[in-house]
Amino acid sequence: MQEKLPLDARLLSDAIIELNISRHNVSIYPKDHPLVSKSLNRAFEYFRRLFELRDEITIAIAKDTIIIDEYSLDKKNPVFKDFALHLNRMSIASVTFTKNLTKDELYSFHRFLLEDTEGMSLDAIREKWKGYDLPNIRLGFIDYSAFGEADGEASKKKLYEWYVHGLLEGTLRVDSLQEGVDEIPPEILAKLINETSTEDLKEESYDRVIASYLRKSSERAFSGKDIKRLLDFINGLRPELKKEFLSSSMNKLSKDIKSVEEALRETPIDTVMTLLKNINEQKLSIPDELRKLLERFSSLETDAIESRIFREEDLVDDITVSSDIASLISDERFDRFVDETYRNEIQRLLDSDAPAGYVEDTEGFNAQWDEEYIERCFNEMILEILLSGGSEVVREEDYEFFNRLLKDQIEELISTAQYGEVLRILRVWKERLGGDDGDGGASSYIHSPETISLFIDSLRISGRQKREEALELCRFYGERIIPPLIHALIQEESQTVRHFLLSLIISFGRMAEAEAIKHLRDERWYVKRNMLFILTEIRSTEGLPHARPLCRHEHPRVSFQAIKYLLRMGDPYGVDMLKEHLEGKTEEGVRQALLLAGTFRVKELVPDLIRMLKKKALKSADYQDKIQIVRALGLIGDPSALDALRDILHSRSILFKTPLRRLKEEIQSTLKHYPPEDVREIIGEVAL
């Protein structure tokens, strides 16, 4: 076996690039196309040269990154990324090419990469790959079944104690300890050392600890992180230990000023200032060169912030400030602008007993971190950008991107009954696009049968709770929403939902006429009845000829709805039909006809009703029927009925005393519906 040699990075990069080009070519052109053979030849040539260095080359894929040996190829390179992502999408974790690789194998490998493995199980993908039978290409697949539930973490405290003990005792070499010491947080290290008796600590102990913190090797210089950790460690020590460790640190640092300078470049200024402060407090004498260096890095470039103040525009950096704050910043006369009250308030805040992290309206505040709320804010922001962003800020492709995004959002918003949000999107689209935007655009999406069906389904479940928003959204759709609404109404089993859907359809007025008339032909009685109801409510004139034949429909709910419709529209045919029903084939028919005659105040029926009223009562139930006639007459309120009523009021019966009394009571209660001047006399008679 040939020894593993480092691969030529350039060669490898070129090989992957060619591999990706040939993959694309294979996907577009037939095998014998010159572009395919050309790119395959080139990729193959790179592999041939790589095989001179190694017998086999393995490429590992970590999502969008290609890793070879321990190195990853440039993560930002779009070609590598494209290739890695493609392999990752096929659940490929690694590809190994071996020395006897042929061009045909390379071609077949590309063909395999074109397979649609979406949704396939790992076994199925493996099986498919096996079918290609390519002995010089091995694939490793991502085995998602290897991922299991995680365990907890073990405590490291014991390990830290062991490290520190060995470090102080000098029983372990600093070099071998490096990784362990690096892991120990500075305050824990300080705490562990603080717990050690001073007698056990010797100068070498200090140096060993410091050396472990400030290890410098040819590969690694001091870093800003080392300085900060060192300072944190020293600050955590007992006062008597502080000076010793600080002194040891300064000795160590002063031995390599150049590295210290590099490290200080990375160190925040406050840290350097604190270090200097510590040195001064401990009255530590340090080499001049080191002191000067520390002093240099504790000062600042004074114009760095000054230049961020755009005074003329009241901008401090990018923050617009009110003129008072702008003056405050430029004039530096703080007291003039911020009165003592505010400073006192700040002090009061500090002294207050309010718990930390208190905000007013906690519930409202917390609700704003919910994913749904954030999503709504995001949508609103996009809509604002679409509305107000000029073409300079929002380019054409941005609009397309946002439109795609909003389409996805609409599905979710409809399913969660957020019709108001949907409407806002639709209105912005309308404003931006000014109408239809062609196939595949926002407009065709929103009017697609799938979207409408989703909307109707959502309306059924929660439309009633969001009635106004639902109505508005329906209106936005306009006429197009009527057929699906009627279809949903026909299918609906729940009476409550049917009422809601009916109210939506009716809200369209005459726009719903044609669709309702069309459905009058439906064989199902309840469909006919509902359509007649719609036509009635929208006061359709076109529907009248279609409704007339239905007045004789076998199902009374259809026939009476048809009559109701005709009566509402003042169609005389309705009156004729009512008369027909009054003549009484069925009791229920007569009852319904009386009800309608009263409700619609059909004066033409008054003579018929009087005739019915005057008919001699032969049994108790006849009085009950007469009560209904009296009611109908009362609702009509025609004075021509009063004589008949007066006759009843003056009549007596021995056999039907109680039913007659009830009938008289009914007459008395209906008198109020007649013209007062006509009933005054009868009322007087009754009172006597």
Partner: protein, 366 residues
């Protein structure tokens, strides 16, 4: 696979309905039933959803291009601190319903159910590798600020933002302010003009996360706030790098152009796959004021800034004035806070100013 996709969509919608309405709303019931029915359709022995490297894996099969619903479910799982959900045979409608309610609450840990298990996926990464990735960095170092610089300077309207590094940086910020009680010590002064934008971004991120954590925000949301704060000014880079580094006062037209940076930033960040939605929101709103003025403004005027933008606005203002204080060395921190207090209710959310002032003073007085 289509059924699985449908299951993910319906599960996500069910959770969304639960966040939007009361637990006993008809929609919650309706969708719980739909989820249950789809579970029965797609369940083999178990039905397992995992998140691995930002991908949803359902029954060991990656669900690519999971769409808006997939992304939303992924985000909810992250917020909940889980990367694995497994439904097993025998799962009942009431368990599914309760689980949906549970998933809609982002501020509580997941409950346990007899037939639904939630947890994390063990990826068995080499610990040393994890450390090298910077997850356990304890301090805000120049190195990290350089990373922020790299990210900022990698920004262009024609390039995608590398968000992988952002998570790392934000994690290290959190560790840093857990170690260092005095938050001011973590703020980095601007040494030179060309360092300004990313040093300031770093400081604003630290100060925003500091506020958020003091309000009990933790986990994924805290990270998201950090990332959003870190990127709040990216719009400036989309406008002009030149303008940013110019050491002279801006002209009127430049100042006008500068005022468009929130829109540029929001547009740019909205298009970054996998990035928290808070990032574009904050980029868009961080110069709006609490009272609805500032720039840009919502034409509908319906909604003000999101609290995350309000926190970033506070951090932004504080760090800018603090930087001036450093140079002029005249103002005390309390004075800057008094200026903020004076403008609370107009420029800033008064509750958040009070919280910031109190938490900052308590942290720095110790």
């Amino acid at each position: 696979m289509e059924k699985i996709r449908q299951f993910i969509n319906i599960l996500t919608i069910a959770i969304s309905n639960c966040s939007l309405y009361s637990n006993d709303h008809e929609l919650v019931d309706e969708y719980a039933k739909k989820v249950m029915s789809l579970i029965q359709e797609v369940m083999e022995d178990t039905l397992e959803i995992m998140v691995i490297e930002g991908d949803l894996i359902v029954n060991k099969i990656p669900l690519r291009d999971a769409g808006l619903h997939g992304v939303k479910l992924l985000r909810r799982m992250q917020r909940k601190g889980i990367t694995r959900i497994a439904f097993s045979q025998g799962v009942t409608l009431s368990e599914v319903r309760e689980f949906i309610v549970d998933m809609s609450r982002f501020d509580s840990p997941p409950k346990t159910y007899h037939h639904i298990r939630t947890g994390t996926v063990d990826i068995h990464l080499d610990e040393r590798k994890t450390r090298e990735m910077g997850v356990d960095l304890d301090y805000i170092t120049h190195e990290q600020i350089q990373k922020v610089k790299e990210i900022y300077y990698g920004i262009s309207p024609f390039k995608r933002l590398q968000i992988a590094g952002l998570e790392e940086i934000v994690s290290s910020f959190i560790l840093a302010f857990h170690r260092e009680a005095n938050i001011l010590k973590l703020l980095t002064p601007v040494r030179s003009q060309d360092e300004y934008i990313y040093t300031h971004a770093t400081n604003v991120a630290v100060l925003s996360m500091f506020q958020a954590e003091s309000l009990g925000i933790k986990g994924k949301l805290l990270h998201d706030i950090g990332i959003s704060a870190l990127l709040h000014d990216v719009g400036k880079l989309v406008i002009s790098r030149e303008m940013l580094n110019r050491p002279t006062p801006a002209y009127t037209e430049e100042a006008t152009k500068m005022k468009q940076h929130p829109i540029y930033g929001a547009v740019y960040l909205s298009k970054i796959e996998g990035l928290t939605r808070l990032a574009p929101i904050v980029a868009f709103e961080h110069h709006m004021r609490y009272d609805g003025t500032g720039y840009p403004r919502y034409s509908s005027g319906k909604r003000g800034q999101h609290p995350c933008s309000q926190m970033v606005a506070i951090a932004d203002f504080f760090d800018t004035l603090r930087s001036i204080r450093l140079y002029q060395r005249k103002w005390e921190i309390k004075d800057i806070l008094a200026v903020m207090k004076m403008n609370a209710g107009r420029d800033f959310n008064p509750s958040l100013v009070d919280n910031f002032a109190r938490t900052l003073l308590l942290a720095t007085s110790g």
